[in-house]
Amino acid sequence: MALVKVDNLSRVFDVSKPWLNRVLERREKEYLTAVSEVSFDVAERSTYALVGESGSGKSTIGKMLVGLLSPSDGHVEIEGVDLANEPDAAKVDAVRADIQMIFQDPYASLNPRWRVKDIIVEPVASRGGKTEGMAEKLLEQVGLSVKDAGKFPHEFSGGQRQRICIARALASEPRLIVCDEPTSALDVSVQAQVLNLMSDLKENFGLTYVFISHDLTVVRHMADVIGVLYLGRLVEEAVPGRLFDDPKHPYTQMLLEAAPKMDAFGREIQPPEGEIPDPINPPPGCAFHPRCPLAQDICKRDRPRLRQIGGTRVACHFAE
């Protein structure tokens, strides 16, 4: 059974200027569509990776999954409960305890005035749970020392801080952890350690990850299923082997072409063409058509729906 069901999810931000400026400059209201009609399921005890360039809406989806943002349209159901629309507060609270998040910047995600042990147990303490010895146990589980419990965050390196964030995320014994680029602020050598730790913890605790990243190599090792986002739309979804060996969507093909490869020294790399379009005025039809080598007239008119081709779900008129 799917732990997370995302159904037709959209999020629109109002980026208009203040009312007075709009009146004086005779401008219309402006809306930015960060996420548009995204649907996917995440199975229990699996890792679902969302990849895309900056501005593709992957972090916005992450925030909607954990309830930090409410959807403009569509639903997020976790354990069958729609957090944004569920009227029963007790049910919402029970589901919230099962969701945690690991953030991108380990320097901003720990309160600099709190001791590490208070930071780690906060998710439990704020619900009135027993926290004795909990911080110390969790610190050991993430590879830090028991003695670190009384220290402040500035006494740790980036990788150690991210371990503290992981310990905090584990404290309330969640089922789902949304990881928003958890390693992109870390050195490459530390990235591997943190990723291995996360894999181990997933096995030990039976966790489900939604893993947001722009780094295809990281995603390849971590993910059970990969969803590729372009301008807030899900364009392709497949298991890693299939996605890397046989990408169906021209955008996925372009991404893989551009990714650096260890075995390709001296090879000419085709740089990706064009820029991600303006999400305030997205192109009509398929959002990728201005950059697409296969684009035809139909791509400018009709927005392609996700279709099942083999084991892959892809949104392209010409994929086969």
Binding site: G67, L68, A108, P112, S172
Partner: protein, 314 residues
């Protein structure tokens, strides 16, 4: 085999404070050390005034009218009593009145700043964290208030408050009305600074982490954001203290502040200025010097603190 170095035991809070950067710059700045000493001496002598002062100048039983207008360090022509800083027209020892006056001045100053701080921090946190029309209303009120000189605002509040308190309570209430008036005229800068810092902090990921576990906005503001916006508040509080002491002295000098039964430094200066041109200079001079020393050293301390806590000036 060489010994493996063992991590040193965690340091105590006192050790950490003594080794901190702030304390280091403090020791290196003579201005800061001297003004801290002056403030400390004045503070201690104000607190322990009943033990230091030779007489209680506001106890009529201890006064001898024959001692009036005794110059400093000279024996009185009639009684032969000698006073360190002389006496005023009613024979009160100026040194003792200064000590007792400083108590009122410092109490009003500290209480007014504390009141302004609580009000400003609360409104600043709310407007920064909640945003929207709440922020617009609070900050526009602050802007409007800022366009009036704060002494004018304080006089207005003082006048209204005095008008609505019954006559028999006026003298007792005067000190509290003074605190209210100065506090209300001074909250704006706290609110502005706290709002600015809150806007920065509320978008940091540790606040999002607290939100996603379901913490209420009140708890996030108090336990997460407040500790991180306090260092600029500390600087403003110190500088405001100097300004509040001067504001209190100004109001008292103008005759709308502390009553003659509970004179502050400002009241003493007002009383003294009547005798300046008849030659009894000491009645004005010594309270004025005390006020100057107090306000100046608190202000210098605030200036130093602002520089010490600003990483860009290191």
């Amino acid at each position: 085999m060489t010994d493996i170095p063992v991590a040193p035991p965690p340091k105590s809070r006192l050790r950490l404070a003594l080794e901190s950067d702030v304390f280091y710059t403090f020791r290196r700045s003579p201005v800061a050390v001297i003004s801290a000493l002056v403030v400390l001496v004045l503070l201690v002598s104000a607190i322990f005034a009943p033990w230091i002062a030779s007489t209680n100048p506001f106890d009529p039983a201890s006064l001898n009218l024959m001692n009036g207008f005794t110059p400093p360090l000279e024996p009185n022509a009639f009684t032969g009593d000698s006073f360190l800083l002389g006496t005023d027209d009613q024979g009160r020892d100026v040194f003792s009145t200064i000590l007792y006056g400083m108590r009122i001045s410092l109490f009003v100053g500290v209480a007014a700043v504390a009141f302004a701080m609580v009000l400003g921090i609360t409104l600043g946190l709310i407007s920064g964290y909640v945003g929207g029309w709440v922020e617009t209303i609070i900050m526009r009120v602050a802007d409007v208030q800022l366009t009036f000189p704060s002494i004018l605002v304080a006089m207005l509040i003082f006048g209204i408050a005095k008008g609505i308190t019954p006559v028999e309570y006026r003298d007792q209430m005067a000190i509290w009305v003074l605190i209210l008036a100065i506090g209300l005229s001074d909250w704006v800068q706290f609110a502005r600074v706290v709002r600015g810092a809150t806007l920065v902090e509320k978008n940091k990921e540790y606040v999002q982490a607290a939100r996603l576990i379901g913490r209420k906005p009140g708890a996030i503001m108090l336990r997460h954001i407040l500790p991180n916006v306090l260092s600029p508040v500390l600087v403003i509080a110190t500088i405001s203290l100097a300004l509040a002491i001067i504001a209190e002295a100004t109001l008292s000098f103008l005759g709308v502040g502390a009553p003659p039964t509970q004179p502050s430094l400002g009241t003493l200066i007002r009383i003294g200025q009547g005798f300046l041109f008849s030659g009894e200079w000491w009645i004005l001079f010594f309270p004025a010097c005390t006020l100057l020393a107090l306000a100046l050293s608190v202000n210098l301390l605030g200036d130093w603190l602002r520089d010490a806590l600003n990483p860009r000036l290191r």
